[in-house]
């Protein structure tokens, strides 16, 4: 079964001086799906999005949105899409309603359509009560909701969301996930970026893992996890033995049932054929290199394992998240 393609990129590349912000991106987004770009800071997610919404010209390669080339037919593309930028693009002095009224004119909506849609959207994002106060009185989450309402105003066929839940509290994140699912149910194609693994896992039908400007893997979360196969054994090693982690990794790598070993600050992740068969040998190796194990855990591959397997590092350090 072949599905309708909403977006297609072919060997997309954007360089800043000698730095390739995105390189050789080729992917397709199907109509009606939620497509995710997952990657750490600086991976090239926003750059990719900016090319797709016609704000950046690719250095080379091509991107086609709903049949129109983003470089040649930029104006046509802009009429069909909505965009929610990563930074809160809010004018502090305007009220929520004034933001929407301004954008209604910029999207050239007829007056009656604007009059109908604006209250509808304010209701959808739960901002009715504050709609006539200046945006400088809004909380971060409220600004984000206003951002999303702005992105939805043109009734787009494709909606681009750049890190829609960055820095939001848990409730607001869940709300936004809900909106995204509602939009999808209405048939809107959604392209979003994120560096939250759980978000990608929960929300995206398919995703591309981006790192260093390149696509490292692509598929549905389930496919990506199944593609890895086997199990993950995770060892947490006592701080006093941290110096011996490297030796243990070396000892493990030569074992036949071990496929890959990745070091973390507090231990090792070991990808194995089957945890039952591998565990005795792993424990024996730990004993032999006299690493004291604080915790041994094994599980089916998760999205973070997929990420590590394809990029060679974890998406973020294990230090507590710092809010911007």
């Amino acid at each position: 079964m072949s599905r309708a393609v909403a977006i297609e990129t072919i060997k997309l590349r954007k360089t800043y001086g000698t730095l390739a912000a995105v390189d050789d991106l080729t992917f397709q987004v199907y109509a009606g799906e939620v497509f995710g770009l997952l990657g750490p800071n600086g991976a090239g997610k926003s750059t990719t999005l900016r090319i797709l919404i016609t704000l950046l010209r690719p250095t080379s390669g091509q991107a086609i949105v709903l049949g129109h080339d983003v470089a040649r037919d930029a104006d046509l593309v802009r009429r069909l899409i909505g965009y929610v930028p990563q930074e809160r693009a809010i004018d502090r002095f305007l009220t929520g309603r004034e933001h929407l009224l301004l954008l209604a004119d910029l999207y050239h909506l007829p007056k009656d359509e604007a009059q109908r849609r604006i209250p509808e959207l304010l209701k959808l994002v739960d901002l009715e009560a504050r709609a006539d106060q200046p945006a400088k009185t809004y909380s971060g989450g409220m600004k984000r909701k206003l951002d999303i309402a702005c992105g939805l105003l043109p009734n787009p066929k494709v909606l681009f969301l750049d890190e829609p839940t960055l820095g939001l509290d848990v409730q607001s994140r869940l709300r936004i996930w809900d909106y995204v699912r509602q939009l999808k149910a209405r048939g809107i194609t959604i392209v979003m970026t994120t560096n939250y693994l759980d978000e990608a896992d929960q929300l995206c039908d398919r995703l591309a893992i981006l790192d260093g400007g390149r696509i490292r893997a692509m598929g549905s979360p389930a496919e990506l996890k199944a593609g890895l196969g086997g199990d993950i054994v995770s060892l947490t090693i006592g701080a006093e033995d941290a110096g011996r982690i490297e030796a243990l990794a070396t000892a493990l790598r030569v074992l036949p049932m071990v496929r890959a070993v990745t070091a973390k600050p507090s231990g090792l992740d070991i990808r194995v054929e089957s945890s039952e068969k591998a565990l005795p040998a792993v424990l024996e190796a730990a004993n032999r290199t006299s690493c004291r194990l604080e915790l041994v855990d094994y599980h089916r591959p998760r999205l973070d394992d997929v990420f590590v397997a394809h990029t060679g590092h974890a998406i973020r350090s294990e230090f507590p998240e710092t809010e911007e």
């Binding site: 704000l55 104006d75 965009y83 930028p85 930074e87 004018d91 002095f93 301004l102 050239h108 043109p154």
Partner: protein, 259 residues
């Protein structure tokens, strides 16, 4: 065409709305610091300034033209600031992701800045009138003063926007502006006539478009049409060249920034 007007009206109204929200800045915009120049320095230097040198009945009537053009200078050079903030907080990107004509945002800014500048010029001429300075060329003369203000203002606003689109940080923006505006004022006939300057200074001042604007405005206020017309013709030509250069530079900066 209809769509173009709709965009420009909406974007211009946004600037108006912002101004009306920023009460403090509105006060400073309408009761411009330049007014104080006129009132205080105009009266303060009354005794110090020699009418033989200024060729004017009193210093305030000499200073009025300088204050008018300094207002245009300040407004014009500050005209890009709001776009700079829009660029920095991503609002500009949001505007540019909509299907608007690429020139609308910039054009709305020109419209707004020019309108505010003209209003201020009228306020300044009103205050000068209150102190007894009456333009000898009457209302038509004032219309020509507004025309010169607009022509000069457009080029200055273009410089400011070009700067806003090219700078890396807004610290840079304000230091370049500070660097530009003081010499523009002192190397012009705003405060002292060219004849009273050291030779090297009056040489440099002649290359300053501001000098030409001030001399034309001053003769419209003090001397009458016969003396003013050739100066007006000259300054219009100089301003057209000045604007063309500034607009070209700013269009390039804009295209570079917006891809």
């Amino acid at each position: 065409m209809n769509e173009y007007l709709q965009e420009i009206r909406a974007l211009t109204m946004r600037w108006v709305r912002r101004l009306s929200r920023e009460k403090f800045s509105m006060l400073f915009t309408l009761v411009q610091p330049m007014l104080f120049w006129l009132i205080f320095f105009g009266n303060l230097f009354q005794r110090a300034a020699d009418p033989q040198v200024t060729q004017a009945p009193n210093y305030i009537s000499f200073l009025a033209a300088g204050v008018v053009v300094m207002t245009v200078l300040n407004n014009g050079l500050a005209g890009g600031v709001d776009l700079l903030f829009d660029k920095e907080n991503g609002f500009l990107e949001r505007l540019m992701s909509t299907p608007i004509n690429r020139t609308s945002v910039v054009l709305s800014r020109f419209l707004f800045v020019t309108t505010i500048t003209c209003l201020q010029v009228l306020v300044i001429l009103g205050v000068a009138w209150f102190f007894g300075v009456e333009a000898v060329t009457g209302l038509p003369g004032i219309a020509v003063i507004l025309l010169i203000s607009m022509l000069f203002g457009v080029g200055l606003t273009a410089i400011s926007m070009a700067l806003a689109f090219s700078v890396k940080s807004h610290g840079d923006f304000f230091s370049v502006l500070g660097f530009l505006s003081l010499p523009m004022i002192f190397l012009s006939s705003a405060l002292v006539p060219l004849q009273a300057m050291p030779a090297w200074m009056s040489m440099l001042a002649k290359f300053n478009p501001m000098t030409w604007a001030i001399d034309a405005v001053r003769s419209l206020i003090l001397s009458g049409w016969a003396e003013a017309l050739p100066k007006v013709g000259m300054v219009v030509m100089i301003m057209l060249v000045f604007d063309a250069i500034c607009l070209y530079g700013s269009a390039r900066a804009f295209r570079r920034a917006m891809g």
